[in-house]
């Protein structure tokens, strides 16, 4: 089961092989015998290359429907990355990098207290699109790239859930 790992701007070919009950991690062609135990649900004790590392695996939502996104806690912090079937990743044009345009979704449940753009309006990267209130805090929601507001899914006073569509942006050249 080969996978393309996307971690930040890096990509790696990785694979986990199971043979006769023993696991091997193949990292960019280099094989490492590895012992993985799921000691608690989602929590793995891993021995490899003489080291012992405990990881808590948290499947996350991925922007790419063909990739599995993960958030992983270890003693030294949190890693976020995605694993994709390399064939599908290839078909989709490669990578999980966010291009300009697309539908922007709400990061958490909340209420839109201020909407600062209108449909059809051109926006700059970093421009505040709307203000979302949740957990007693007002949060500015900024445009990840330059573009044009293609569609608004919310209005002032709308309540949204996690990952509700809020604003659809078109890339500047597509506007």
């Amino acid at each position: 089961m080969k996978r393309t790992l996307t971690f930040g701007k890096e990509q790696h070919e990785v694979e986990l092989l199971r043979q006769d009950g023993a696991l091997t991690l193949v990292w960019e062609g280099e094989a490492h015998p590895i012992d993985i135990r799921e000691v608690e649900p989602g929590c793995y004790s891993i021995l490899m290359d003489g080291r012992s590392v405990e990881v808590l695996l948290d499947p996350a939502k991925s922007p790419d429907p063909d990739a599995h996104a993960f958030r992983v806690m270890v003693y030294d912090g949190v890693y976020e990355f995605a694993l994709a079937d390399p064939r599908r990743a290839l078909l989709a044009g490669g990578g999980a990098g966010a291009g300009a345009g697309g539908t922007l979704t709400s990061p958490m449940p909340g209420k839109v207290v201020k909407l600062l753009v209108a449909a059809g309006e051109a926006v700059q990267e970093g421009q505040t699109l709307l203000i979302l209130e949740a957990m007693k805090m007002q949060n500015e929601y900024k445009s990840p790239s330059a573009g044009t507001v293609a569609k608004l899914y919310v209005q002032e006073g709308s309540t949204v859930e996690t990952a509700s569509p809020m604003v659809e942006l078109a890339a500047p050249d597509a506007g």
């Binding site: 089961m1 996978r3 790992l5 971690f7 930040g8 890096e10 990785v14 694979e15 986990l16 199971r18 696991l23 991690l25 990292w27 490492h32 590895i34 993985i36 799921e38 608690e40 649900p41 989602g42 929590c43 793995y44 891993i46 490899m48 080291r51 590392v53 990881v55 808590l56 695996l57 948290d58 499947p59 599995h68 993960f70 958030r71 992983v72 806690m73 270890v74 003693y75 030294d76 912090g77 949190v78 890693y79 990355f81 694993l83 990061p107 958490m108 449940p109 909340g110 207290v113 201020k114 209130e133 949740a134 957990m135 007693k136 805090m137 007002q138 949060n139 500015e140 996690t162």
Partner: protein, 497 residues
């Protein structure tokens, strides 16, 4: 005043923390809960529990009449307000006392005196406690701009009824004034029901240092030393410590005595905190007084060995303070990290949701004050703080190293949180050296750069997860189990909750 059964007019970790002291003192506890909190930890821990309405706090936790009704039904003879909610609401304090229920907090008049920052400032000036230069009264937008120009930018806009960083904005230049003011008023209105805002001189790289005071009903006042809370994000504290690395014994005494002047001026009773801003030259300025227990009181408990909730109850019973100023201990150093359901990489955006995995650290001189449990829902309606992790060590560096180790043990799944952010802070050289100021988090230096030595381990677990999902899919008859993302079957045990 008897305190034999305490209604805790709060939720989350502080409600649980109050319950623990009551248990140790043999006092029965009554929890109240909104419809979003039936399964919350404080309901599980209390001896009694009553539903007081819908999820929004203004329809439940903030409705005094409902709390009074629960006092009547349960026979509670005292109310502990915790922090936030009604803790600094003089009307509520009066209503409880009028109903014959002991309010475990200050006299209502003290709350009023300190409730408006502008009024509190007047009191401090009159009592001889230094204050930050600025304009005391709330004004129109136009007058605030005039005043700001006169004081000179940068200035700080603050909600008159505010606290906890809400309705607070630093304004660097006149061009930003209008939008910042609008935002400050908006937050002030939604948080405190009052959009009054005032303006003050912004002190460059200030340190936030506060004095914990305690007073009884007999006119005795002591200070329990200082806490430093300069590590803030969006004007809200995230790391607190006691004592402060900036404070000398002389400064401690001067600040403590200035704080007690304010306490005496308002005939204070119970636990209170005088917040100061301090500059590099160890000048300090009165900022405000919090007439309640603070979130960060555990660091004071660590260095003094005292139980501040117990003292609150003793004072509410009319007893004298157990110790005099000279008897207040100060040993070692304590750190506290606030654990929030939030995303430090996305401007600390709250991250409510279900906690699918939870493991708090253990071992020596580590204290976790949690309000959640594995399987608990962090609701979107309330503050996203889920626990406070604190550590003690004989020296500051030992407390920091212990905190770093404890954070490494902490495991929270299902929501985004700030554990890794705290870990970076504990290894951050300026922090370790004690070079703190309230703007130190303005640049997000904690964002992870490259891959660390554990990346391959993390990826291996994810690969195994994918492999087993595929093996299960292959083994299952077609059509079964559809409609749920396989990643979550794993935690199927939570589906029934």
């Amino acid at each position: 005043m008897p305190v034999t059964k305490v209604l805790i007019a709060n939720r989350g970790e502080i409600a649980c923390r109050v319950i623990r002291t009551c248990r140790e003192m043999g006092i029965r506890t009554v929890a109240v809960y909104s419809e979003a909190d039936r399964a919350a930890l404080h309901v599980r821990m209390a001896d009694e529990a009553y539903c007081i309405g819908p999820a929004p706090a203004r329809e439940s936790y903030l409705v005094v009449e409902k709390l009074l009704d629960v006092c009547r039904r349960s026979g509670a003879d005292a109310v502990h307000p915790g922090y936030g909610f009604l803790s600094e609401n003089a009307e509520a304090a009066r209503a409880f006392e009028a109903a014959g229920v002991t309010f475990i907090g200050p006299r209502p008049e003290s709350i009023v005196s300190m409730g408006s920052k502008t009024a509190a400032r007047e009191v401090a000036i009159a009592a001889g406690c230094p204050v930050v230069p600025g304009v005391q009264e709330t004004m129109s937008d136009e007058d605030l701009l005039v005043a700001s120009t006169k004081i000179g930018f940068p200035v700080m806009l603050k909600a008159a009824m505010g606290g906890g960083g809400k309705g607070m904005r630093l304004v660097h230049k006149p061009e930003d004034f209008a939008s910042s003011l609008a935002r400050a008023r908006g937050e002030a209105l939604s948080s405190f029901g009052d959009d009054s805002v005032y303006v003050e001189k912004a002190i460059v790289q200030p340190r936030h240092i506060e004095i914990q005071i305690f007073s009884d009903a007999h006119g005795n006042h002591v200070y329990l030393h200082e806490r430093e809370c300069s590590v803030q994000r969006r004007h809200q504290k995230v790391i607190e410590e006691a004592p402060s690395p900036h404070v000398t014994p002389e400064m401690r005494k001067a600040m403590g005595e200035a704080a007690l002047k304010v306490a005496r001026a308002v005939n204070y009773r119970g636990a209170g905190t005088i917040e100061f801003l301090a500059d590099a030259d160890r000048n300090f300025y009165f900022l405000e007084m919090n007439t309640r227990l603070q979130v960060e009181h555990p660091v004071t408990e660590w260095i003094t060995g005292l139980d501040l909730v117990k003292w609150q109850i003793l004072v509410a019973r009319g007893e004298k303070l157990p110790l005099t100023q000279e008897q207040i201990p100060l040993h070692g150093w304590a750190m506290e990290c606030r654990v929030y359901a939030e995303d430090p990489d996305k401007n600390f955006m709250p991250s409510p949701g279900r906690i699918t995995f939870l493991k708090a650290p253990g071992g020596r001189n580590v204290r976790d004050d949690s309000g959640v449990y594995e399987g608990a829902e962090v609701p979107m309606f309330y503050d996203p703080m889920i626990s406070k992790l604190s550590t003690w060590g004989p020296t500051r560096i030992e407390a920091i190293d212990r905190m770093r180790a404890a954070l490494g043990e902490y495991r929270i799944g299902g929501i985004r949180h700030n554990i890794a952010f705290h870990e970076v802070l504990m290894e951050h050289e300026p922090f370790r050296k004690g070079d703190l100021h309230t703007g130190m988090l303005d640049k997000p230096f904690w964002k992870k750069k490259g891959p660390g030595p554990d990346l391959q381990f993390a990826v291996a677990a994810a690969l195994l997860h994918d492999l087993e999902s595929e093996e299960r899919r292959a083994a299952q008859p077609a059509g079964s189990g559809e409609g749920k993302p396989d990643a979550w079957k794993h935690w199927g045990r939570f589906n029934r909750l």
